[in-house]
Symmetry: C2
Subunit: 193 residues, 2 copies
């Protein structure tokens, strides 16, 4: 099957049986996103719950002064979507853009809800995706508040080295909450050690 990776992803969560995984995956639609294309544009309603099979994406928003701020990175075997816009059916403040050519599988809001209603295990899966994302963001929030920029850099380098292979420094810098100038200096200091 072409959607083997999607099926394996469901199974790997231990929330969905192989049989159900295949059934669920059958409702997803394949999609290619070329490098630099937008998977989501601010001002639109996010309507795709996208499993990213291959490639690398970045989510970003603009602050009050118009600066581009990276809010997240997505890559292999992650769900790339904007939670609030997708579930509340509201206009997105964020953009999601492909930094490399990507392939993935998506499901619309309506389809997702139908599956949630008919397959309890898939509801559990959906909740798990939300809860994990929430917990990861809480961890990031705490580290932003309690750690120095250098510590945050070091942690990200250890936990998500893929990011450094695909994203230019300025994107990583705003994700870490610092300027690209500072990140450059931090890298210099860090490499001395």
């Amino acid at each position: 099957m072409e959607n083997e990776k999607l099926i394996q992803y469901f199974i790997s969560t231990n929330l969905i049986s192989p049989i159900k995984a295949e059934e669920i995956a059958g409702h997803f639609t394949k999609k290619n996103i070329a490098k630099n294309q937008f998977q989501l544009k601010e001002g639109k309603i996010c309507n795709e719950y996208l499993f990213l099979e291959d490639g690398f994406m970045r989510a970003f928003a603009y602050d009050i002064e118009g600066n581009d701020v990276t809010t997240g990175f997505y890559y292999n075997n992650h769900i790339a979507f904007e939670v609030s816009s997708y579930f509340n059916r509201t206009v997105s403040k964020e953009n999601i853009q492909a930094l490399t050519d990507c392939t993935g599988w998506y499901i619309t809001y309506e389809q997702l809800n139908n599956l949630f209603h008919s397959i309890p295990d898939f509801r559990e899966f959906g909740r798990s995706v939300l809860v994990k994302g929430f917990a990861a963001l809480k961890t990031r929030m705490l580290s932003t508040i309690t750690e120095t920029a250098e510590e945050r850099y070091s942690s990200l380098l250890k936990s998500n080295p893929e990011i450094f292979q695909h994203a230019p420094l300025k994107y990583i810098a705003s994700y870490l909450g610092i300027t690209d100038t500072s990140l450059s200096r931090i890298r210099k200091e860090f490499s001395k050690k």
Copy 2:
């Protein structure tokens, strides 16, 4: 009915009908928490999804150096619980403590799941609570990264003035990601304007 506020809370979300609201509320248990008592202690599994009817609570964790860091405030008509510990059934890294005498209504994990299975509208409600919390945290994360401490202080004062009536400065400071010394100075500057 004694649980009138809980029922009204469900109705106010526009996700649950008055009849269903009453049915759902019937599964919640009343609870009083005295000032300074812990609603959740780190190391334990959070097992109460608590609707706070009255009172004021603070969630906090300790960073690597052992500093107490405020991760959230809860008060009237909010759900006070630790998402990750409650849904993943894992040990909590956070504490939740009453800063005033509190009253609320809680439901255990098992009860909640039973209700989720039997009442689709309550599932929607549960998802909405998660999604709103997630979105609020994303907003907070963005403001922590893009705004100055003074701007964050000003925003919090405008959006959640209740906090300043109940929590000492040091708790608010760590929530804002600064020291209490800095917050004191920021207040001084701010009051001049």
